[in-house]
Subunit: 350 residues, 2 copies
């Protein structure tokens, strides 16, 4: 019998963190009587006087959100990370290792209207978001080793507020995933004298099996090692290292690419597609300011949970938590569906 | 200012896989208007003629589930892993690494009645479950390198069928988490000449800050490095290496411990507490049969998602997916609540 990736289970290596994912394409045929997500409702008002992210509303802590007209950034009222905390005592017991953590958490509203999302905003409005990401990154990266810009979209991804927004958590240290990536990218560069993701982009452009969107500045692929069903990576084709080294043209093309990708996502199951996404680039802060970033390539990662429809998601549970990541369709199958679905006209406009 | 773990964010190292978790106890105060889980209903019938896991029901593939009276094990009708698949071709490109995966997936019903769960079964009935785990493990471990026994309980943990059951997925290879654990436990043993978890149990018994249940055969703690809010580890105190080396007494005490722990879980938020749990012990199969397992200690891990109440869970999303694990109360706080909640009488019986 000959190996056919869409029929035969196998493992694939994620070269960015050294873990394997189990690919089981034949699993998509099983019946599902488990939890169904609530379909996201479209009937949000553009202004909700009880939503603290809306312009002019008073937040629980008494501070009034200003009548902002484009983006609006503020310090998280319940931050996971703050700057001023005493350091924990040292421990020399290898089983009870503690380390300090300093940081900062901000919330960034994308738009004054609650009922918009990136795919239903204009490219010009998305450029404003990108510019504000860069402003924030410029400020925070001078101080912090890692500035994590991320968006949790949709109740299925734990988003606690439907207003279009993202978060920026900055850390005095490299968190687990960036630390692993830093080591792997560095090792690849040491051997090959080229950035891993630069080589990866080239090879995906030759193979053309996993491409979703392809333009001169950006490549969107379902990575060969994707774990979430419709996971994608949006990778710079200009050897950018960090979000704040994008030119004006690259930013504009990024806005167009984000709009196209998120429109495809929404059109796939005709719903406001939930996901967590975020940016990864070379580390920052005084510690990394003078280190080489030659091994890095700026990229964003999208982790959407939906698997079969607007209401049936993939659960990363039992086997996945205890043993390893597992997926139910091949990355190539996911890429083909995302490539073929319309990315220019949003289903709500049809 | 002095460091106080329940007030000041910090990081803790998981010595079993080398990753850090960010502990942010002050976060529990934030308001929540995100997704609410449906409270699990208790009104399941004990027999549902449309549920393929019930005795006597015909499954979608035409096979009839027998009229079983205690446990019942069958091959998963839609297995992620099967034994007979061709191996993928080798690749020498480090960015496109593929590896073969062979295996087997079984489903094991705990009891003929659909409306029971481990905490509402008797200890004697749980002993039957443990004995069947051991039967299955004996058979599968002769062939496979890793036999993962796990239970997804509750819709919130992606359980697709409410009938009390677990799954057993066997692999021809060591999956990511067990592989990391194998390396870390071995390294600790090489340095200390003692199994890591044996030392850990001793130290937890001295410190008494994270103990939930403590009897001569088993220790249940919220690990120092727990990532899920009420995560626990149930660890053998008899230097057991694998589930199939438990004596009859150890099995009976295990049944009592499982009943107590899951009763505490249910009583905590007065609901059928969802979780994923599973067993980890020394690797198996022809490859590992003659290797030393001195560095291993048999243990089970429970990953429950609930954070604040029966309907508000912790989401492992944005920052957690892109950067690192993050928790909102300290392991010591979680342990105290689990220690203090009644573990002898289930709330439904009150
Ligand atoms: O086989 P089940 O219970 O339907 O499926 C569940 O457990 C599996 C193993 O953890 C996961 O891969 C699935 O995502 C989950 O829904
Ligand atoms: O701050 P939010 O959006 O309320 O919270 C959400 O994102 C955070 C960062 O990924 C997570 O830690 C929370 O579990 C999640 O609910």
């Amino acid at each position: 019998m000959q190996f056919v990736a869409t029929e035969h289970q196998h493992r694939r290596l994620n070269p960015l963190n050294g873990t394997w994912v189990l690919v089981c394409p034949h699993r998509t045929q099983r019946p599902w009587s488990g939890q169904q997500e609530k379909a996201q409702k479209n009937e949000l008002p553009d202004f909700d006087p009880t939503n603290p992210l809306c312009p002019g509303v008073t937040r629980p802590n008494g501070i009034q959100t200003p009548a902002y007209e484009s983006t609006y950034v503020f310090e998280n009222d319940f931050p996971a990370l703050v700057e001023q905390v005493p350091a924990p005592p040292n421990s020399d017991d290898p089983l009870f290792q503690v380390a300090p953590a300093h940081g900062n958490c901000r919330v960034m509203c994308f738009h004054p209207k609650s009922n918009l999302t990136l795919p239903t905003m204009t490219s010009a409005e998305i450029v404003v978001v990108i510019n504000e990401w860069i402003n924030q990154f410029n400020e925070l990266s001078s101080k912090y080793a890692w500035v994590q810009i991320f968006e949790n979209k949709g109740a299925a991804m734990g988003c606690s507020n439907p207003h279009p927004h993202c978060q920026i958590w900055s850390c005095s240290f490299l968190p687990t995933e960036p630390q692993l990536k830093q080591e792997r990218l560095r090792a690849y560069y040491a051997t090959n004298d080229r950035p891993l993701l630069g080589d990866y982009v080239e090879r995906e452009l030759q193979r053309r099996e996993r491409i979703v969107i392809d333009n001169p500045d950006w490549l969107v692929v379902v990575p060969f090692w994707a774990t979430w069903p419709f996971e994608t990576m949006l990778i710079s084709r200009n050897n950018n290292k960090r979000i704040n080294d994008l030119t004006l043209d690259q930013r504009y093309n990024l806005a167009v690419t984000i709009k196209e990708l998120t429109t495809k996502y929404d059109n796939l199951f005709q719903c406001s597609f939930p996901y967590s996404m975020g940016w990864h680039g070379a580390p920052t802060g005084p510690e990394h300011a003078h280190a080489s970033s030659a091994h890095w390539t700026l990229h964003a990662i999208y982790y959407p949970p939906l698997l079969r429809s607007a209401t049936v998601r993939k659960f990363m549970v039992g086997f996945e938590l205890l043993a390893m990541a597992q997926r139910d369709l091949t990355p190539e199958q996911a890429a083909q569906r995302l490539r073929e679905v319309d990315g220019t006209c949003h289903y709500l406009d049809k």
